[in-house]
Amino acid sequence: MASLLEIQNFSYTYQGAPGPALADISLAVNPGECVCVTGLSGCGKTTLLLAVKGLLYQGAASGTITVGVPGASSNGSTAGMVLQNAESQILCTAVSEEVAFGPENLCVPAEEIGDRVETALQAVGLNEYGSRTVEQLSLGQKQRLAIASVLSMQPQLLLLDEPTSQLDGPGKIQLLEVLQQLKSRGHALLITEHDLGPLHQIADWFVTMENGAIKNVTRKSPAHIAPEATPSSGRRSSGITRVLAARNLSLAYTGTGEVLKNLNITLARGELIHLFGCNGAGKSSFLRCVTGFLSPQSGEVEIAGIAGPRPEQLLGKVGFLFQNPQRQLFEDTVFAEVSFSLKRMRCDTGEVRQRVMDALSLCSVDHLVSRSPLTLSFGEQHRVALASVLAPQPELLLLDEPFAGLDFPQRYKILGILSELRERCGTTVVIVSHDRLPDPLWADRVLILEHGAIECN
């Protein structure tokens, strides 16, 4: 069978980079085949997809990439690429408009675009959403829209960059059904992903990359090796001092309805909690309620000994790491970034220095103390942001989707840091996520937020 994608001895070095991002890559993908590429962050997965799509410029390339069956006719685009972040790759306000964008660029006649839009939306199960605005879609629906907007260009080969990373369980299942159907129709799929679990059922080959090169190609998914020290073996919750208590918390949005319904929760000092819920379950709304950014319609909140808190009262007592915490970095050096809260707490210079170095050491970024946060790698930025919220040694640390974009070793490292934080400072840690934790034994309690209420697993 002729390959849809054939890469032979391809290497690529970004302009000004000390070493190659891709080194001597050789790979073939046949029609109806799904190849899953995995590896640590920065190993070259996304660069490989960009190379196949022909979106790498200015760097030095060698070797060949051939896309499409030689001699076969194509009235569309040979390879279509779906980027990692659905939010920033959607360019139009209406769903059907977004799907029509690619064919319009290919100068497809208007009459034909209508049919293509309809077919592509049907393929991803969004045909009832064509006239809606993009902002009305959930994250999972946006991810499927991104696929539809590529399918309308009728590519033979689909390149997907971490398509499941932002999706919850049901979202992943729906996406996998779509991919399975595309595969059975003869589309070739080249997917990069950290979490291979969901892709077992559709992947034919697993390719592991390391430092820009292919390390091995297997039929079986490579396993993640968890470090031994990850589980929370340290000091357990005393169960006495209450750090967070919410009673009969209710919150509703106009148009969306009730998000939290008489929610009750009590967290003790030193507990490690995993708060689990699907996309749109109200996890972020809950966090905003307890930190005083949202006023609930009814109910009471007491956090770090403060009843009905305002955000400004929580400085030094509660740390909050938002999703994509790189967004909060702004200082010139890592030291200044991590010391920001301590200075606002009016700690003296010696104490600031001590606490900053402790936090940096805990997060294994003390060697970066003089660097600019903005020049660091994604994982390093993540840990600097974490260090900046735990430097004040808060009683309660809230983390909203802290593993987004991180590979598995980095996820385990974050869990290790949080266990160590509890050990050193007795901090209560709450991880809020739509996905299971890399180490299911890490949490003392798993709380499930569903239908606006919390139940303990």
Partner: protein
Amino acid sequence: MAPLNVIKPSASQNQPRVNGYAFQYRAVDSPVHRMGAGWKLLLGTALCAAAIGGTNPFLLAALLIVNAGYYFLARLSVAELARDLWFFLIQMAVVIVLYMMRYGVPEGIWPGVRTSLRILLFFLPGIILLRTTRISQMMYSMRRILPYRLAFLVFTSLRFIPFFAREVREIAMAQRLRGAHLAPRELLNPRNWQDLMNCLLLPLIIRALKTADEAALSAEARAFGSYPKRSYWNSANYQNSSGKTAAVNDMEIKETL
């Protein structure tokens, strides 16, 4: 390509997930939505010009009624109007207070009302244009005036207004918990404007640059700019005639390679 099996959306998925943002396109059918983008631009320009030139209270009152009629003819709700005008109402309050401080009460009231009302009336037609016109319609209408790449740049940025509204809120929340003085009341104090610049605007600019990179990559990955011209499809009539899409009027391919 034949359609694949359809995944039926659940009832909960049919619920809108957001409450909506100011100036966001509203997908409903109305006479204003059906009006061509070019006509809306012309009408808007006329209304803006009248707002600039209008000093007479009767003219301003008439303009206010016309704009309100225009807004509600587009089947936009009072809640959406409140969302759109929130900033302008604050602006009105500030301007009127400043005029009263300068000229006293009641002498300063009418000049304050007049000036702030003219500002509001100047922007309202543009808001209605954004609320009722899809990006593709605007690009199509502007294609003779602006190169399509430039039109794309201008109108695609509108799509990211809700995205950046969310970003502003989330970055501000994170920084406030770190001790930055970014609460609305704190920002009235000029001494806290440094926090506004360093802790909010700087990260936002970095985020905007990154998002612009990703959006450009997304456009390029879908062949944007591959050809000197592009075709246009009118998405406004999607789902007409039993779900069949329709290419409407003169919106057909004009360009060939």
